[in-house]
């Protein structure tokens, strides 16, 4: 059996209505509140290094990886993956804002900022994801 992935949704999406949907929605409210809150209290002027998005994306990658590693070793509630994995940690992070900010920095000719933003996001996301996995696997 392949390891569970946050994008897994078998069996049929419609058959899981309405509890799976409610779990994703409720988790999505919490994750979105965190993301919107951080970007509100940590405003970044156009052309500057997008620290707010970097912060949510890196911490979210750590948390999701740790949650999934822990989930493999413990018994979790029926809709836990929908609520935490897909809802909370999935919607706390964002790809669209990341893509827009990279394009915007490139467009302004801020090549160094664009390159370091991409490197910090992807390099940091992978390293923190691995760390989260290791840490959660070691914790009982």
């Amino acid at each position: 059996m392949p390891p569970p992935s946050p994008s897994d949704s078998r069996p049929s999406l419609l058959a899981q209505f309405p509890r799976a949907w409610a779990a994703v929605l409720a988790g999505g409210l919490i994750g979105s509140a965190g993301r919107v809150g951080i970007s509100h209290y940590l405003p970044v002027s156009p052309g500057r290094f997008p620290i707010a998005t970097l912060l949510v994306n890196l911490s979210g990658s750590l948390l999701l990886a740790a949650y999934l590693a822990r989930r493999e070793r413990t018994v979790t509630a029926r809709w836990s993956l929908h609520f935490w994995g897909i809802g909370v940690f999935g919607s706390f992070t964002t790809f669209s804002a990341f893509g827009f900010e990279v394009m915007d920095l490139l467009d302004r000719g801020a090549m160094l900022a664009a390159a370091s933003y991409v490197a910090a996001s992807i390099g940091g996301g992978l390293i923190l994801g691995l760390l989260g996995q290791r840490f959660a696997s070691g914790v009982r």
Partner: protein, 115 residues
């Protein structure tokens, strides 16, 4: 106003769950195509919205909130690690480069369509 962006983000999360599951079930691939589908379409849509100059502020906030919840960075990272890091395997590298290059290109494409 912030509350609207949060609610839009939750609806975005539900749409991500449905679309990524739908795509993943139907396309046979070694790559996590469900996540690629939501992230790339979300990036294009954000480009479209950002390109509209005279869009009302609340509308922009709602759309950005929705697309923030619709797309996901954490799942992209975790699925890349699952494909084989370390050492970096070809599939993991493909999952990274396709999303990065196509994501930025699609934001730019959306932006230039409306701006």
């Amino acid at each position: 106003m912030i509350g609207v962006a949060v609610i839009a983000g939750a609806v975005g999360a539900l749409c991500r769950y449905l679309l990524s599951g739908f795509v993943q079930e139907r396309i046979d691939s070694h790559l996590p195509v469900g996540t690629l589908a939501v992230n790339l379409s979300g990036a294009f849509l954000l480009g479209l919205v950002a390109g509209i100059d005279n869009l009302e502020g609340g509308m922009t906030l709602t759309a950005a909130g929705f697309l923030g919840g619709f797309t996901t960075f954490s799942t992209w990272m975790v699925e890349t690690i699952r494909l084989g890091i370390p050492p970096l395997r070809a599939r993991a590298l493909a999952n990274l480069t396709i999303a990065l290059i196509a994501g930025v290109a699609l934001v730019a494409a959306g932006y230039s369509l409306t701006n």
